[in-house]
Amino acid sequence: MSAPVRRRRRTRGALTPARCIGIAILVVVWLAPVAWIAATAFKSPAQVLSLNVFFEPTLRNFAIAFGPQYQLGARLLNSLIVTGVTLLVAIPIATASAYALSRYRFPGGSVWSIAILATQFVPAAVIIIPLFVAFRGAGLIDTRAALVIVNLSFVLPYATWMIKGFIDAIPQDMEEAAAIDGASRLRALIDVVVPVIAPGVITAAIFSFVIAWNEFFYALILTRSDATTLPVSLMSARTEQGDAWEIMATIGLVIIGPMLLISRLVQRFFVRGLTAGSVR
Protein backbone atom coordinates (compact mmCIF):
# COMPACT_ATOMS: atom_id res chain seq x y z
CA MET A 1 0.00 0.00 0.00
CA SER A 2 2.28 2.71 1.21
CA ALA A 3 5.39 0.65 0.46
CA PRO A 4 6.88 3.04 -2.12
CA VAL A 5 6.62 5.93 0.30
CA ARG A 6 8.35 4.02 3.06
CA ARG A 7 11.11 2.80 0.83
CA ARG A 8 11.91 6.32 -0.23
CA ARG A 9 12.08 7.42 3.38
CA ARG A 10 14.57 4.70 4.18
CA THR A 11 16.96 5.38 1.34
CA ARG A 12 16.98 9.04 2.23
CA GLY A 13 18.11 8.15 5.76
CA ALA A 14 20.97 5.88 4.60
CA LEU A 15 23.37 4.80 7.34
CA THR A 16 26.79 6.24 6.58
CA PRO A 17 29.64 5.48 9.02
CA ALA A 18 29.64 9.05 10.29
CA ARG A 19 25.94 8.78 10.96
CA CYS A 20 26.40 5.52 12.83
CA ILE A 21 29.01 7.05 15.11
CA GLY A 22 26.84 10.09 15.74
CA ILE A 23 23.87 7.94 16.59
CA ALA A 24 26.01 5.75 18.87
CA ILE A 25 27.23 8.76 20.84
CA LEU A 26 23.70 10.05 21.25
CA VAL A 27 22.44 6.67 22.36
CA VAL A 28 25.18 6.39 25.00
CA VAL A 29 24.58 9.89 26.32
CA TRP A 30 20.83 9.39 26.47
CA LEU A 31 20.74 5.82 27.64
CA ALA A 32 23.57 5.68 30.17
CA PRO A 33 21.60 7.32 33.02
CA VAL A 34 18.61 5.13 32.27
CA ALA A 35 20.79 2.04 32.30
CA TRP A 36 22.33 3.20 35.57
CA ILE A 37 18.91 3.59 37.16
CA ALA A 38 17.83 0.22 35.83
CA ALA A 39 20.96 -1.41 37.26
CA THR A 40 20.58 0.30 40.63
CA ALA A 41 17.02 -0.96 40.92
CA PHE A 42 18.39 -4.49 41.04
CA LYS A 43 21.23 -3.83 43.45
CA SER A 44 21.31 -4.37 47.18
CA PRO A 45 21.76 -1.22 49.31
CA ALA A 46 25.39 -2.14 49.95
CA GLN A 47 26.19 -2.24 46.22
CA VAL A 48 24.45 1.01 45.32
CA LEU A 49 27.40 3.29 45.67
CA SER A 50 29.99 0.94 44.22
CA LEU A 51 31.00 1.49 40.63
CA ASN A 52 31.27 -2.21 40.04
CA VAL A 53 29.46 -3.21 36.89
CA PHE A 54 29.07 -6.82 38.00
CA PHE A 55 26.74 -7.52 40.89
CA GLU A 56 24.21 -10.08 42.02
CA PRO A 57 20.80 -8.87 40.82
CA THR A 58 18.01 -9.02 43.36
CA LEU A 59 14.28 -8.35 43.31
CA ARG A 60 14.37 -7.29 46.95
CA ASN A 61 13.92 -3.61 46.10
CA PHE A 62 10.71 -4.30 44.19
CA ALA A 63 9.35 -6.34 47.09
CA ILE A 64 10.06 -3.47 49.45
CA ALA A 65 8.74 -0.79 47.10
CA PHE A 66 5.47 -2.59 46.54
CA GLY A 67 5.30 -3.49 50.23
CA PRO A 68 3.45 -1.64 53.01
CA GLN A 69 6.17 0.95 53.55
CA TYR A 70 6.08 2.49 50.07
CA GLN A 71 2.81 1.14 48.63
CA LEU A 72 4.01 1.50 45.09
CA GLY A 73 1.06 -0.52 43.78
CA ALA A 74 -1.42 2.05 45.08
CA ARG A 75 0.74 4.92 43.79
CA LEU A 76 0.94 3.32 40.36
CA LEU A 77 -2.81 2.90 40.32
CA ASN A 78 -3.25 6.57 41.27
CA SER A 79 -0.94 7.68 38.50
CA LEU A 80 -2.68 5.47 35.96
CA ILE A 81 -6.14 6.69 36.95
CA VAL A 82 -5.20 10.37 37.14
CA THR A 83 -3.34 10.31 33.82
CA GLY A 84 -5.92 8.13 32.12
CA VAL A 85 -8.90 10.23 33.16
CA THR A 86 -7.03 13.42 32.28
CA LEU A 87 -6.39 12.17 28.76
CA LEU A 88 -9.89 10.77 28.30
CA VAL A 89 -11.36 14.13 29.17
CA ALA A 90 -8.71 16.37 27.62
CA ILE A 91 -8.20 14.89 24.17
CA PRO A 92 -11.82 14.94 22.91
CA ILE A 93 -12.42 18.40 24.36
CA ALA A 94 -9.12 19.68 23.01
CA THR A 95 -9.94 18.30 19.56
CA ALA A 96 -13.33 19.95 19.53
CA SER A 97 -12.05 23.30 20.77
CA ALA A 98 -9.08 23.18 18.41
CA TYR A 99 -11.52 22.65 15.56
CA ALA A 100 -13.64 25.56 16.73
CA LEU A 101 -10.63 27.85 17.10
CA SER A 102 -9.34 26.81 13.70
CA ARG A 103 -12.54 27.01 11.68
CA TYR A 104 -14.90 29.52 13.27
CA ARG A 105 -14.46 33.25 13.37
CA PHE A 106 -14.83 34.77 16.80
CA PRO A 107 -15.34 38.39 17.69
CA GLY A 108 -11.90 39.46 18.78
CA GLY A 109 -10.17 37.16 16.30
CA SER A 110 -7.13 35.31 17.55
CA VAL A 111 -7.36 36.88 21.01
CA TRP A 112 -9.01 33.72 22.30
CA SER A 113 -6.44 31.24 21.22
CA ILE A 114 -3.69 33.51 22.54
CA ALA A 115 -5.56 33.93 25.81
CA ILE A 116 -5.65 30.17 26.17
CA LEU A 117 -1.92 30.06 25.72
CA ALA A 118 -1.44 32.97 28.10
CA THR A 119 -3.00 31.02 30.97
CA GLN A 120 0.07 28.81 30.78
CA PHE A 121 2.43 31.67 31.52
CA VAL A 122 1.28 31.87 35.14
CA PRO A 123 3.94 30.16 37.29
CA ALA A 124 2.65 27.23 39.30
CA ALA A 125 4.25 28.65 42.44
CA VAL A 126 2.03 31.71 42.19
CA ILE A 127 -1.26 29.87 42.11
CA ILE A 128 -0.50 26.85 44.24
CA ILE A 129 -1.58 28.41 47.53
CA PRO A 130 -4.89 29.80 46.22
CA LEU A 131 -5.43 26.44 44.57
CA PHE A 132 -4.74 24.62 47.80
CA VAL A 133 -7.19 26.81 49.65
CA ALA A 134 -9.82 26.37 46.98
CA PHE A 135 -9.45 22.61 46.87
CA ARG A 136 -9.52 22.40 50.66
CA GLY A 137 -12.73 24.38 50.64
CA ALA A 138 -14.16 21.96 48.10
CA GLY A 139 -13.01 19.01 50.15
CA LEU A 140 -10.82 17.76 47.32
CA ILE A 141 -7.45 17.67 49.03
CA ASP A 142 -5.77 14.30 48.64
CA THR A 143 -8.21 13.11 45.97
CA ARG A 144 -7.51 11.96 42.45
CA ALA A 145 -10.23 14.30 41.22
CA ALA A 146 -8.19 17.29 42.36
CA LEU A 147 -5.20 16.08 40.40
CA VAL A 148 -7.29 15.44 37.29
CA ILE A 149 -8.68 18.97 37.48
CA VAL A 150 -5.24 20.49 37.92
CA ASN A 151 -3.76 18.38 35.14
CA LEU A 152 -6.57 19.40 32.83
CA SER A 153 -5.78 23.04 33.45
CA PHE A 154 -2.50 22.71 31.63
CA VAL A 155 -2.95 19.60 29.48
CA LEU A 156 -6.10 20.94 27.85
CA PRO A 157 -4.65 24.25 26.58
CA TYR A 158 -1.49 22.50 25.50
CA ALA A 159 -3.30 19.78 23.57
CA THR A 160 -5.70 22.33 22.08
CA TRP A 161 -2.85 24.35 20.68
CA MET A 162 -1.07 21.36 19.33
CA ILE A 163 -4.14 19.87 17.62
CA LYS A 164 -5.15 23.27 16.28
CA GLY A 165 -1.87 23.36 14.37
CA PHE A 166 -2.76 20.11 12.66
CA ILE A 167 -6.30 21.20 11.81
CA ASP A 168 -5.04 24.51 10.43
CA ALA A 169 -2.85 22.54 8.05
CA ILE A 170 -5.56 20.46 6.39
CA PRO A 171 -7.55 21.97 3.54
CA GLN A 172 -11.16 22.87 4.15
CA ASP A 173 -12.36 21.09 0.99
CA MET A 174 -12.98 17.82 2.74
CA GLU A 175 -15.21 19.35 5.37
CA GLU A 176 -17.08 21.33 2.73
CA ALA A 177 -17.56 18.17 0.72
CA ALA A 178 -18.86 16.46 3.85
CA ALA A 179 -21.20 19.38 4.57
CA ILE A 180 -22.68 19.12 1.09
CA ASP A 181 -22.79 15.34 1.29
CA GLY A 182 -25.10 15.77 4.26
CA ALA A 183 -22.93 15.77 7.37
CA SER A 184 -23.42 18.14 10.26
CA ARG A 185 -20.44 20.06 11.58
CA LEU A 186 -19.93 17.52 14.37
CA ARG A 187 -20.37 14.59 12.03
CA ALA A 188 -17.84 16.03 9.60
CA LEU A 189 -15.45 16.53 12.49
CA ILE A 190 -15.77 12.91 13.59
CA ASP A 191 -15.97 11.27 10.16
CA VAL A 192 -13.49 13.37 8.24
CA VAL A 193 -11.32 15.71 10.29
CA VAL A 194 -10.38 13.41 13.16
CA PRO A 195 -9.30 10.46 10.99
CA VAL A 196 -7.19 12.76 8.85
CA ILE A 197 -5.50 14.45 11.79
CA ALA A 198 -5.30 11.23 13.84
CA PRO A 199 -1.47 11.32 13.85
CA GLY A 200 -1.65 14.81 15.30
CA VAL A 201 -4.18 13.85 17.94
CA ILE A 202 -2.04 10.88 18.91
CA THR A 203 1.04 13.05 19.12
CA ALA A 204 -0.82 15.48 21.35
CA ALA A 205 -2.03 12.58 23.47
CA ILE A 206 1.51 11.27 23.91
CA PHE A 207 2.85 14.64 24.97
CA SER A 208 -0.12 15.15 27.27
CA PHE A 209 0.49 11.73 28.75
CA VAL A 210 4.10 12.58 29.50
CA ILE A 211 3.12 15.88 31.12
CA ALA A 212 0.39 14.37 33.28
CA TRP A 213 2.38 11.27 34.14
CA ASN A 214 5.40 13.25 35.29
CA GLU A 215 3.48 16.01 37.03
CA PHE A 216 5.11 16.45 40.44
CA PHE A 217 4.61 19.86 41.98
CA TYR A 218 0.81 20.02 42.23
CA ALA A 219 0.60 16.38 43.25
CA LEU A 220 3.14 17.02 46.00
CA ILE A 221 1.12 19.89 47.47
CA LEU A 222 -2.39 18.62 46.90
CA THR A 223 -2.00 15.03 48.08
CA ARG A 224 -0.98 13.47 51.37
CA SER A 225 -1.34 9.72 51.17
CA ASP A 226 -4.48 8.44 49.44
CA ALA A 227 -4.01 10.09 46.05
CA THR A 228 -0.21 10.28 45.93
CA THR A 229 1.18 9.60 42.49
CA LEU A 230 4.41 7.97 41.40
CA PRO A 231 6.59 11.10 41.06
CA VAL A 232 5.65 12.18 44.56
CA SER A 233 6.34 8.72 45.95
CA LEU A 234 9.94 9.20 44.89
CA MET A 235 10.21 11.63 47.77
CA SER A 236 9.19 9.00 50.27
CA ALA A 237 12.51 7.26 49.65
CA ARG A 238 14.28 10.22 51.22
CA THR A 239 14.11 9.30 54.87
CA GLU A 240 15.76 10.48 58.04
CA GLN A 241 17.94 7.43 57.87
CA GLY A 242 19.30 8.66 54.54
CA ASP A 243 18.30 8.35 50.92
CA ALA A 244 17.28 4.90 49.78
CA TRP A 245 18.78 5.19 46.31
CA GLU A 246 17.94 1.66 45.32
CA ILE A 247 14.27 2.25 46.13
CA MET A 248 14.27 5.53 44.22
CA ALA A 249 15.73 3.74 41.24
CA THR A 250 13.05 1.11 41.50
CA ILE A 251 10.32 3.71 41.58
CA GLY A 252 12.05 5.54 38.71
CA LEU A 253 11.95 2.37 36.67
CA VAL A 254 8.25 1.96 37.37
CA ILE A 255 7.71 5.54 36.20
CA ILE A 256 9.70 5.09 33.01
CA GLY A 257 8.24 1.67 32.19
CA PRO A 258 4.79 2.66 30.90
CA MET A 259 6.23 5.49 28.86
CA LEU A 260 8.64 3.18 27.08
CA LEU A 261 5.86 0.70 26.51
CA ILE A 262 3.47 3.29 25.14
CA SER A 263 6.00 5.01 22.93
CA ARG A 264 6.91 1.62 21.46
CA LEU A 265 3.28 0.73 20.82
CA VAL A 266 2.32 4.10 19.50
CA GLN A 267 5.34 4.58 17.32
CA ARG A 268 4.15 2.01 14.81
CA PHE A 269 0.73 3.54 14.63
CA PHE A 270 2.26 6.96 14.52
CA VAL A 271 4.44 6.29 11.48
CA ARG A 272 1.55 4.68 9.66
CA GLY A 273 -0.59 7.68 10.47
CA LEU A 274 1.97 10.09 9.10
CA THR A 275 2.10 8.40 5.72
CA ALA A 276 -1.68 8.03 5.60
CA GLY A 277 -2.06 11.75 6.09
CA SER A 278 0.24 12.59 3.22
CA VAL A 279 -2.54 12.61 0.66
CA ARG A 280 -2.78 15.77 -1.25
Binding site: M1, P171, D173, M174, A177, A179, D181, A183, S278
Partner: protein, 353 residues
Protein backbone atom coordinates in the same frame (compact mmCIF):
# COMPACT_ATOMS: atom_id res chain seq x y z
CA UNK B 1 -34.04 18.09 -10.90
CA UNK B 2 -34.89 21.70 -10.49
CA UNK B 3 -34.20 25.17 -11.70
CA UNK B 4 -31.85 27.44 -9.78
CA UNK B 5 -32.54 31.08 -9.40
CA UNK B 6 -30.43 33.83 -7.89
CA UNK B 7 -32.51 36.88 -7.08
CA UNK B 8 -30.66 40.15 -6.52
CA UNK B 9 -27.84 38.25 -4.90
CA UNK B 10 -24.83 40.16 -3.72
CA UNK B 11 -21.68 39.24 -1.80
CA UNK B 12 -19.61 41.84 0.00
CA UNK B 13 -16.73 41.53 2.43
CA UNK B 14 -16.80 44.88 4.12
CA UNK B 15 -16.22 47.40 1.34
CA UNK B 16 -15.03 44.75 -1.12
CA UNK B 17 -17.66 43.57 -3.55
CA UNK B 18 -17.10 39.94 -4.50
CA UNK B 19 -20.25 39.49 -6.53
CA UNK B 20 -22.28 42.50 -7.56
CA UNK B 21 -26.03 42.52 -7.03
CA UNK B 22 -27.54 40.56 -9.91
CA UNK B 23 -29.94 37.82 -10.80
CA UNK B 24 -29.38 34.61 -12.68
CA UNK B 25 -31.82 31.91 -13.70
CA UNK B 26 -30.67 28.42 -14.56
CA UNK B 27 -33.33 26.28 -16.15
CA UNK B 28 -34.28 22.76 -15.16
CA UNK B 29 -31.74 20.34 -16.66
CA UNK B 30 -29.64 23.13 -18.05
CA UNK B 31 -25.84 23.05 -18.19
CA UNK B 32 -24.76 26.53 -17.15
CA UNK B 33 -21.11 27.51 -17.18
CA UNK B 34 -19.80 30.45 -15.19
CA UNK B 35 -16.73 31.62 -17.06
CA UNK B 36 -14.24 34.30 -16.16
CA UNK B 37 -10.71 35.09 -15.04
CA UNK B 38 -9.66 34.36 -11.47
CA UNK B 39 -11.21 36.69 -8.93
CA UNK B 40 -14.25 37.44 -11.09
CA UNK B 41 -16.70 36.07 -8.52
CA UNK B 42 -17.67 32.89 -10.33
CA UNK B 43 -16.55 30.55 -7.55
CA UNK B 44 -18.13 32.75 -4.90
CA UNK B 45 -21.38 32.64 -6.84
CA UNK B 46 -21.24 28.85 -6.90
CA UNK B 47 -20.34 28.63 -3.22
CA UNK B 48 -23.36 30.75 -2.39
CA UNK B 49 -25.57 28.31 -4.31
CA UNK B 50 -23.95 25.42 -2.42
CA UNK B 51 -24.48 27.17 0.90
CA UNK B 52 -20.79 27.32 1.74
CA UNK B 53 -20.95 31.09 1.59
CA UNK B 54 -23.81 33.29 2.73
CA UNK B 55 -24.94 36.00 0.35
CA UNK B 56 -24.83 39.52 1.82
CA UNK B 57 -28.16 40.20 0.20
CA UNK B 58 -30.74 38.58 -2.04
CA UNK B 59 -32.36 35.18 -2.27
CA UNK B 60 -31.36 31.83 -3.73
CA UNK B 61 -34.06 29.47 -4.93
CA UNK B 62 -33.73 25.85 -5.94
CA UNK B 63 -36.91 24.61 -7.58
CA UNK B 64 -39.76 26.10 -5.56
CA UNK B 65 -37.79 26.34 -2.33
CA UNK B 66 -36.07 29.41 -0.95
CA UNK B 67 -32.79 27.88 0.23
CA UNK B 68 -31.04 31.12 1.22
CA UNK B 69 -31.06 30.23 4.89
CA UNK B 70 -30.62 26.48 4.53
CA UNK B 71 -27.49 24.52 5.37
CA UNK B 72 -25.60 22.94 2.46
CA UNK B 73 -26.86 19.48 3.38
CA UNK B 74 -30.49 20.58 3.20
CA UNK B 75 -30.20 22.06 -0.27
CA UNK B 76 -30.03 18.78 -2.14
CA UNK B 77 -27.02 19.79 -4.19
CA UNK B 78 -23.80 17.90 -4.90
CA UNK B 79 -20.46 19.47 -5.59
CA UNK B 80 -17.23 18.46 -7.27
CA UNK B 81 -14.24 20.38 -5.98
CA UNK B 82 -11.18 21.52 -7.86
CA UNK B 83 -8.89 19.29 -5.82
CA UNK B 84 -11.60 16.70 -5.49
CA UNK B 85 -12.19 17.00 -1.73
CA UNK B 86 -12.00 13.23 -1.33
CA UNK B 87 -11.73 11.64 2.09
CA UNK B 88 -8.18 10.24 2.16
CA UNK B 89 -8.82 7.68 4.88
CA UNK B 90 -11.77 6.07 3.13
CA UNK B 91 -11.74 3.64 0.23
CA UNK B 92 -13.23 4.62 -3.11
CA UNK B 93 -16.40 2.73 -2.24
CA UNK B 94 -16.66 4.47 1.13
CA UNK B 95 -16.04 7.83 -0.48
CA UNK B 96 -18.80 7.31 -3.01
CA UNK B 97 -21.16 5.85 -0.43
CA UNK B 98 -20.57 8.55 2.17
CA UNK B 99 -23.46 10.85 1.14
CA UNK B 100 -25.80 7.88 1.42
CA UNK B 101 -24.31 6.72 4.71
CA UNK B 102 -24.70 10.14 6.29
CA UNK B 103 -28.29 10.20 5.18
CA UNK B 104 -28.88 6.88 6.90
CA UNK B 105 -29.44 4.64 3.90
CA UNK B 106 -29.20 0.94 4.77
CA UNK B 107 -26.00 -0.80 3.85
CA UNK B 108 -27.35 -3.13 1.17
CA UNK B 109 -29.06 -0.33 -0.74
CA UNK B 110 -25.96 1.78 -0.41
CA UNK B 111 -23.71 -0.93 -1.83
CA UNK B 112 -26.01 -1.36 -4.80
CA UNK B 113 -26.06 2.34 -5.52
CA UNK B 114 -22.28 2.58 -5.22
CA UNK B 115 -21.82 -0.35 -7.60
CA UNK B 116 -24.17 1.13 -10.12
CA UNK B 117 -22.50 4.52 -10.11
CA UNK B 118 -19.02 3.01 -10.10
CA UNK B 119 -19.93 1.07 -13.21
CA UNK B 120 -21.15 4.23 -14.87
CA UNK B 121 -17.83 6.02 -14.32
CA UNK B 122 -15.71 2.89 -14.77
CA UNK B 123 -14.38 2.67 -11.24
CA UNK B 124 -15.62 -0.83 -10.46
CA UNK B 125 -12.17 -2.46 -10.25
CA UNK B 126 -10.87 0.31 -7.97
CA UNK B 127 -13.54 0.33 -5.28
CA UNK B 128 -11.21 -0.95 -2.58
CA UNK B 129 -8.37 1.42 -3.24
CA UNK B 130 -7.74 4.61 -1.35
CA UNK B 131 -7.61 8.01 -3.05
CA UNK B 132 -3.82 8.26 -2.79
CA UNK B 133 -3.49 5.12 -4.87
CA UNK B 134 -5.40 6.64 -7.76
CA UNK B 135 -4.35 8.84 -10.65
CA UNK B 136 -5.72 12.34 -11.01
CA UNK B 137 -8.31 11.27 -13.55
CA UNK B 138 -9.46 8.42 -11.36
CA UNK B 139 -9.75 10.71 -8.35
CA UNK B 140 -11.82 13.05 -10.45
CA UNK B 141 -14.09 10.16 -11.34
CA UNK B 142 -14.51 9.29 -7.67
CA UNK B 143 -15.51 12.88 -6.96
CA UNK B 144 -18.01 12.73 -9.83
CA UNK B 145 -19.39 9.41 -8.65
CA UNK B 146 -19.80 10.75 -5.13
CA UNK B 147 -21.71 13.67 -6.56
CA UNK B 148 -24.12 11.64 -8.69
CA UNK B 149 -24.71 8.73 -6.34
CA UNK B 150 -27.39 10.65 -4.48
CA UNK B 151 -29.18 11.96 -7.58
CA UNK B 152 -29.20 15.53 -6.30
CA UNK B 153 -31.34 18.26 -7.77
CA UNK B 154 -28.33 20.34 -8.75
CA UNK B 155 -24.71 19.58 -9.61
CA UNK B 156 -22.09 22.14 -8.82
CA UNK B 157 -18.64 21.77 -10.33
CA UNK B 158 -15.80 24.05 -9.37
CA UNK B 159 -13.06 23.86 -12.00
CA UNK B 160 -13.18 20.07 -11.88
CA UNK B 161 -10.73 19.53 -14.72
CA UNK B 162 -8.07 22.10 -13.97
CA UNK B 163 -5.81 19.66 -12.09
CA UNK B 164 -5.74 17.17 -14.96
CA UNK B 165 -3.30 17.03 -17.84
CA UNK B 166 -4.42 18.35 -21.20
CA UNK B 167 -5.22 15.01 -22.80
CA UNK B 168 -7.18 13.70 -19.88
CA UNK B 169 -9.05 16.96 -19.68
CA UNK B 170 -10.45 16.44 -23.16
CA UNK B 171 -11.73 12.95 -22.43
CA UNK B 172 -13.13 13.90 -19.00
CA UNK B 173 -14.87 16.83 -20.62
CA UNK B 174 -16.70 14.50 -22.96
CA UNK B 175 -17.48 12.22 -20.04
CA UNK B 176 -18.98 15.03 -17.98
CA UNK B 177 -21.04 16.22 -20.90
CA UNK B 178 -22.34 12.74 -21.56
CA UNK B 179 -23.19 12.16 -17.88
CA UNK B 180 -25.03 15.42 -17.63
CA UNK B 181 -27.02 14.62 -20.74
CA UNK B 182 -27.84 11.17 -19.47
CA UNK B 183 -28.84 12.22 -15.95
CA UNK B 184 -30.47 15.50 -17.02
CA UNK B 185 -29.49 17.11 -13.73
CA UNK B 186 -29.27 20.89 -13.62
CA UNK B 187 -25.56 21.67 -13.62
CA UNK B 188 -23.60 24.77 -12.76
CA UNK B 189 -19.99 24.58 -13.77
CA UNK B 190 -17.28 27.08 -12.94
CA UNK B 191 -14.21 27.41 -15.13
CA UNK B 192 -11.69 29.89 -16.44
CA UNK B 193 -11.14 27.73 -19.51
CA UNK B 194 -13.13 29.06 -22.45
CA UNK B 195 -12.87 25.77 -24.35
CA UNK B 196 -14.58 23.96 -21.49
CA UNK B 197 -17.23 26.65 -21.42
CA UNK B 198 -17.83 26.53 -25.16
CA UNK B 199 -17.92 22.76 -25.38
CA UNK B 200 -19.99 21.96 -22.30
CA UNK B 201 -22.49 24.70 -21.80
CA UNK B 202 -26.04 25.16 -22.90
CA UNK B 203 -25.53 28.71 -21.77
CA UNK B 204 -22.46 30.59 -20.58
CA UNK B 205 -22.35 33.44 -18.09
CA UNK B 206 -19.15 35.39 -18.69
CA UNK B 207 -18.16 37.18 -15.50
CA UNK B 208 -15.66 39.90 -14.72
CA UNK B 209 -15.16 41.82 -11.48
CA UNK B 210 -18.22 40.33 -9.91
CA UNK B 211 -20.53 41.23 -12.77
CA UNK B 212 -22.05 38.98 -15.42
CA UNK B 213 -20.88 40.55 -18.67
CA UNK B 214 -22.90 38.39 -21.00
CA UNK B 215 -25.28 35.50 -20.53
CA UNK B 216 -26.01 33.57 -23.67
CA UNK B 217 -25.41 30.43 -25.69
CA UNK B 218 -21.78 29.62 -26.55
CA UNK B 219 -22.48 30.49 -30.20
CA UNK B 220 -23.89 33.90 -29.38
CA UNK B 221 -21.05 34.64 -26.97
CA UNK B 222 -18.54 33.79 -29.64
CA UNK B 223 -20.33 35.41 -32.56
CA UNK B 224 -21.84 38.45 -30.89
CA UNK B 225 -19.75 39.41 -27.85
CA UNK B 226 -21.60 42.04 -25.85
CA UNK B 227 -18.58 44.12 -24.91
CA UNK B 228 -14.83 44.39 -25.22
CA UNK B 229 -14.20 42.16 -22.21
CA UNK B 230 -16.14 39.26 -23.65
CA UNK B 231 -14.66 39.89 -27.08
CA UNK B 232 -11.11 39.68 -25.82
CA UNK B 233 -11.69 36.90 -23.29
CA UNK B 234 -13.34 34.41 -25.66
CA UNK B 235 -11.40 32.91 -28.54
CA UNK B 236 -7.89 31.64 -29.01
CA UNK B 237 -5.94 33.33 -30.44
CA UNK B 238 -7.81 36.32 -29.08
CA UNK B 239 -9.93 38.59 -31.21
CA UNK B 240 -7.99 41.43 -32.83
CA UNK B 241 -9.05 44.81 -31.50
CA UNK B 242 -8.23 47.93 -33.51
CA UNK B 243 -8.73 51.48 -32.30
CA UNK B 244 -10.12 53.87 -34.83
CA UNK B 245 -13.14 55.94 -35.80
CA UNK B 246 -16.34 55.43 -37.69
CA UNK B 247 -16.85 57.75 -40.65
CA UNK B 248 -20.22 57.43 -42.37
CA UNK B 249 -20.28 53.70 -41.93
CA UNK B 250 -16.60 53.08 -42.67
CA UNK B 251 -14.06 52.08 -40.05
CA UNK B 252 -10.98 54.23 -40.35
CA UNK B 253 -7.62 53.82 -38.67
CA UNK B 254 -4.18 54.94 -39.87
CA UNK B 255 -3.55 53.05 -43.11
CA UNK B 256 -6.80 51.14 -42.88
CA UNK B 257 -10.26 51.87 -44.24
CA UNK B 258 -12.91 49.22 -44.09
CA UNK B 259 -16.03 50.27 -45.84
CA UNK B 260 -19.53 49.43 -44.73
CA UNK B 261 -19.00 47.91 -41.29
CA UNK B 262 -21.28 50.25 -39.38
CA UNK B 263 -23.70 53.12 -39.51
CA UNK B 264 -23.17 56.81 -38.97
CA UNK B 265 -20.06 58.43 -37.56
CA UNK B 266 -18.41 58.08 -34.17
CA UNK B 267 -15.08 59.43 -33.05
CA UNK B 268 -13.80 56.55 -30.94
CA UNK B 269 -14.64 52.96 -31.76
CA UNK B 270 -12.90 49.62 -31.53
CA UNK B 271 -13.16 47.19 -34.37
CA UNK B 272 -12.95 43.54 -33.40
CA UNK B 273 -12.26 40.73 -35.80
CA UNK B 274 -11.24 37.16 -35.13
CA UNK B 275 -8.07 35.78 -36.75
CA UNK B 276 -10.09 33.29 -38.80
CA UNK B 277 -12.22 36.09 -40.25
CA UNK B 278 -9.19 37.79 -41.73
CA UNK B 279 -8.11 36.66 -45.14
CA UNK B 280 -4.54 36.97 -46.34
CA UNK B 281 -4.65 38.22 -49.93
CA UNK B 282 -2.92 40.23 -52.65
CA UNK B 283 -2.35 43.89 -52.03
CA UNK B 284 -4.79 44.79 -54.82
CA UNK B 285 -7.77 43.19 -53.03
CA UNK B 286 -6.74 44.09 -49.51
CA UNK B 287 -8.33 46.39 -46.96
CA UNK B 288 -4.90 46.92 -45.43
CA UNK B 289 -1.34 46.09 -46.39
CA UNK B 290 0.91 45.58 -43.39
CA UNK B 291 4.40 44.21 -42.59
CA UNK B 292 4.84 40.73 -41.15
CA UNK B 293 5.76 40.86 -37.47
CA UNK B 294 5.88 37.15 -36.80
CA UNK B 295 4.34 33.89 -37.94
CA UNK B 296 3.67 30.58 -36.26
CA UNK B 297 2.87 27.15 -37.62
CA UNK B 298 0.36 25.38 -35.42
CA UNK B 299 -0.02 22.33 -37.64
CA UNK B 300 -3.55 22.89 -38.78
CA UNK B 301 -2.99 26.53 -39.68
CA UNK B 302 -0.42 29.27 -39.99
CA UNK B 303 -0.91 32.23 -37.71
CA UNK B 304 0.41 35.40 -39.23
CA UNK B 305 0.96 38.39 -36.99
CA UNK B 306 1.29 41.73 -38.70
CA UNK B 307 2.20 45.08 -37.24
CA UNK B 308 -0.17 48.01 -37.40
CA UNK B 309 1.69 50.76 -35.57
CA UNK B 310 1.85 49.59 -31.99
CA UNK B 311 -1.00 47.16 -32.52
CA UNK B 312 -0.56 43.56 -33.60
CA UNK B 313 -3.07 41.85 -35.81
CA UNK B 314 -3.24 38.11 -35.98
CA UNK B 315 -4.65 36.35 -39.02
CA UNK B 316 -5.23 32.68 -39.46
CA UNK B 317 -4.01 31.47 -42.84
CA UNK B 318 -3.78 28.21 -44.70
CA UNK B 319 -1.44 25.69 -43.15
CA UNK B 320 0.69 25.65 -46.28
CA UNK B 321 1.27 29.37 -46.09
CA UNK B 322 4.89 30.43 -45.55
CA UNK B 323 5.94 33.98 -44.80
CA UNK B 324 9.21 35.81 -44.30
CA UNK B 325 9.93 38.49 -41.74
CA UNK B 326 9.65 41.99 -43.08
CA UNK B 327 7.41 41.12 -46.05
CA UNK B 328 4.13 42.88 -46.38
CA UNK B 329 0.86 41.03 -46.67
CA UNK B 330 -2.62 42.11 -47.60
CA UNK B 331 -5.50 41.57 -45.20
CA UNK B 332 -9.13 41.41 -46.10
CA UNK B 333 -11.71 41.81 -43.36
CA UNK B 334 -14.83 39.64 -43.59
CA UNK B 335 -17.54 42.28 -43.26
CA UNK B 336 -20.09 39.97 -41.67
CA UNK B 337 -17.72 39.18 -38.83
CA UNK B 338 -16.56 42.66 -37.95
CA UNK B 339 -17.62 43.70 -34.43
CA UNK B 340 -17.81 47.32 -33.43
CA UNK B 341 -17.49 48.53 -29.85
CA UNK B 342 -17.70 51.95 -28.31
CA UNK B 343 -14.20 52.77 -27.10
CA UNK B 344 -15.42 54.61 -24.01
CA UNK B 345 -18.34 52.46 -22.83
CA UNK B 346 -16.72 49.25 -24.22
CA UNK B 347 -20.21 48.13 -25.24
CA UNK B 348 -21.05 46.57 -28.56
CA UNK B 349 -22.45 48.86 -31.26
CA UNK B 350 -24.97 47.02 -33.34
CA UNK B 351 -24.33 47.59 -36.99
CA UNK B 352 -25.68 45.68 -39.94
CA UNK B 353 -23.57 42.68 -39.01
Amino acid sequence: MASVSLRNVEKRWGPVVGVARQSLDVGDGEFMVLLGPSGCGKTTTMRMIAGLEDPSDGEIWIGDRDVTELLPRDRDVAMVFQNYGLYPHMTVAQNIGYPLKVRGQPRAERDNAVDEVARKVELLPLLHRRPRELSGGQRQRVALARAIVRRPQVFLMDEPLSNLDAKLRVSMRAEIKHLQHELKITTIYVTHDQIEAMTLAHRVAVMDRGVIQQLDTPEAIYNRPANLFVASFIGSPAMNLLNGALETGDFVAPGIRIAGVGQGSRPAVVLGIRPEDLELCDASEADAVLPVYSFELTGDATLATVAHGEERICARGDRHLRLTFGDTVGLRFARAHCHLFDATTTQRIDGPA
